[in-house]
């Protein structure tokens, strides 16, 4: 006779804990933002998002984020390539340095940028101001989102077999042609994933940007800084509205990440 094991409650409890934890810490704040932003209907949200200061904050947030993504895509790709393919003195050090933005507090990073580029800094600029200006914001966003492309592309590069590349060389393809036609299609999903992570990180950055930009209203104030200031000013409707927009973008990025991941998996299966 086959005896069924008595049903254990343990799996139910564990699932309950995981789901409850996610609901409380992840979903609840999102719901709260949506609820509060839309408490008085859509009109206050539209009013806030069309206010000149807010429009400007959103504009510089997106522009500087795109700038940071472009810079980190190009240099991240080069760094990943160099770390995987080249042998040079200090490679281990470079490899460790790449992770500094992961472990540095963004506020300290922002402060470091001021020390470096401020009026009496070592690299004080002579022509255009950096600190308390847009270049500072760009630098801060670039700094905090630097590792992602390198860290996503590196492992993919490492797993590539050498033979297809060698086959391309023997057939007559130049190194550049081989990179474009053979290597790039392989690393593309990883690169895209790194770009999306870079984008999300650069978009939401607050600490480093707050320190280095000074948060001058209508000039160097970004979206997250606007939210912070609106909350301090008890302007809840405005804070919630901008939060809602940033939250929606984050959710969109999350969905995009899932799609890219799925693409990575299916392209991996092909191998």
């Amino acid at each position: 006779m086959v005896r069924e094991r008595p049903r254990s409650l343990l799996p139910l409890v564990i699932v309950g804990i995981a789901v409850g934890y996610a609901l409380l810490l992840l979903i609840a704040p999102l719901v709260a933002i949506v609820q509060n932003a839309l408490a008085d209907g859509l009109q206050p949200v539209i009013d806030t998002l069309t206010e000149p200061n807010v429009v400007h904050a959103l504009e510089i947030t997106f522009a500087m984020t795109v700038g940071a993504v472009i810079i980190n895509t190009v240099f991240g790709l080069i760094t990943a390539w160099v770390l995987v393919r080249q042998r040079f003195l200090g490679k281990t050090i470079l490899n460790t340095l790449v992770d500094i933005p992961f472990v540095f507090s963004p506020v300290i990073a922002g402060y470091a940028l001021i020390v470096l580029f401020g009026r009496n800094g070592w690299l004080a600029p002579s022509l255009i101001p950096i600190v308390f200006a847009l270049p500072g914001i760009l630098l801060a966003k670039t700094f905090v989102s630097l590792p992602f492309v390198t860290r996503e592309v590196g492992p993919v590069l490492e797993t590539l077999e050498p033979e297809p590349e060698q086959a391309a060389y023997v057939i007559g393809a130049s190194q550049w042609k081989t990179f474009r036609a053979i290597i790039f299609p392989e690393i593309w999903p990883g690169l895209l994933y790194g770009i999306v992570l870079t984008l999300a990180r650069a978009l939401g950055e607050f600490g480093a940007v707050a320190v280095v930009s000074g948060g001058i209203e209508g000039r160097t104030e970004t979206a997250t800084m606007f939210v912070f200031r609106a909350l301090s000013d008890r302007n809840d409707a405005a804070a919630y509205s901008v939060s809602l927009l940033l939250g929606l973008i984050a959710v969109f990025v999350l969905v995009a990440l899932r799609l890219v991941r799925r693409g990575m998996k299916s392209s991996h299966r092909k191998g």
Partner: protein, 362 residues
């Protein structure tokens, strides 16, 4: 001469992988480099393609010194053991890759791809991706990709090593037909002796980075010059003997001198007798060849179409106690193939080797 290699040398650290190797290969020839893993055969092939730098020596392809050239400028075709197709490209794009780089006109490219698909028997597979093909099909596409731009020489690195035995045999025939049809000078690297015998015009035996012996399959098998070749290609019974001007003496038995062994006159030699040349009979008189000893059957094992018989010589001949014979199970000798049966041992034909001071291949 299509391929000329002179005094090639290559080391990895302290280990010499290719050791002062020289070789000439005729136009249109299919040359097989046969050796165990680690013998340096793949490295040699990669040196010819420009994928492994060499320490010394020269490589000439079709009267052009390519020694210092990058792979792109050598005009070779290379097929890897693991296919190595471009996996995000279709079959057609893979084959077309080299034609696109050479800016061949579109119509000519399409014609050429179709022609190659016909040659490899994969018409209608143009738009498949590599992961939709079997291993054998992928390797045929890899071959077509390497042939598309009409390379000066074709280099194949264990091309059938990752495939099932049955597919392997089919692909060999396909390869031989294609190679004959196109007349492209080809070097194939393998550790598979059967593959070497079936495909090659000539075989080069490579061991510890040195070319031990070069020749047609039948000459290397029947009349090898070294112990290594004799024991690496097939099984060998080796019996110590002496040779003078007219006869070979195995103990007290005088045998006629085989052809092409004059260089071994008055030297210590070993008699090479392939197991299929060993004969067993109830009495010396029933042997068609030369009787060499009496013996007792010690074991009989199944060897596919033949049976392998191990015979203990009583008494031993010059210290040799055992010989192996390969017999057809339906032959007249069948009833002798019981263990402990007493038999007369004879040899139908044999070859001479200089006495080995070096250990033979395992």
């Amino acid at each position: 001469m299509s391929i000329i290699l002179t005094h090639l040398r290559k080391s990895f650290g302290t280990q010499t992988v290719v050791d002062d190797l020289s070789l000439q290969i005729e136009s249109g020839e299919l040359f097989v480099l046969l050796g165990a893993s680690g013998s340096g055969k793949s490295t040699l092939l990669r040196m010819i393609a420009g994928l492994a730098p060499l320490d010394a020596g020269q490589i000439w392809l079709n009267d052009r010194n390519v020694t210092g050239l990058v792979p792109q400028e050598r005009g070779t075709g290379f097929v890897f053991q693991n296919y190595s197709l471009f996996r995000h490209m279709t079959v057609e794009q893979n084959i077309d890759f080299g034609l696109g780089i050479r800016r061949v006109p579109a119509a000519e490219r399409r014609r050429r791809v179709q022609e190659l698909l016909r040659l490899i028997h994969l018409e209608g597979y143009e738009s498949r991706l590599p992961n939709q093909l079997s291993g054998g099909q992928q390797q045929r596409v890899a071959l077509a990709r390497a042939l598309a731009y009409e390379p000066t020489v074709l280099l194949l690195d264990e091309p059938f090593g990752a495939l099932d035995v049955k597919i392997r045999v089919q692909l060999r025939q396909n390869l031989r037909e294609i190679q004959r049809a196109l007349g492209v000078t080809t070097i194939l690297v393998t550790h598979d002796q059967e593959e070497a015998f079936e495909l090659s015009d000539r075989i080069g035996i490579i061991h510890h980075g040195k070319l031990v012996e070069v020749g047609t399959p039948s000459v290397l098998y029947r009349r090898p010059r070294t112990h290594f070749t004799a024991t690496f290609l097939g099984d060998a019974n080796l019996l110590p003997a002496r040779r003078n001007g007219t006869h070979v003496y195995l103990g007290t038995i005088a045998l006629p001198v085989p052809e092409a062994t004059d260089a071994l006159r008055n030297q210590p030699v070993d008699l090479l007798v392939r197991p299929e040349e060993v004969e067993l009979a109830p009495t010396d008189g029933a042997l068609s060849g030369t009787p060499i000893a009496r013996g007792i059957v010690r074991s009989v094992s199944f060897a596919g179409p033949l049976e392998r018989v191990n015979v203990e010589l009583t008494p031993p001949v010059d210290g040799v106690r055992f010989v192996d014979a390969l017999l057809t199970p339906h032959g007249a000798e069948r009833n002798l193939l019981e263990p402990q049966a007493e038999v007369s041992v004879g040899i139908r034909s044999f070859h001479l080797l200089p006495r080995a001071d070096v250990p033979a291949a395992v």
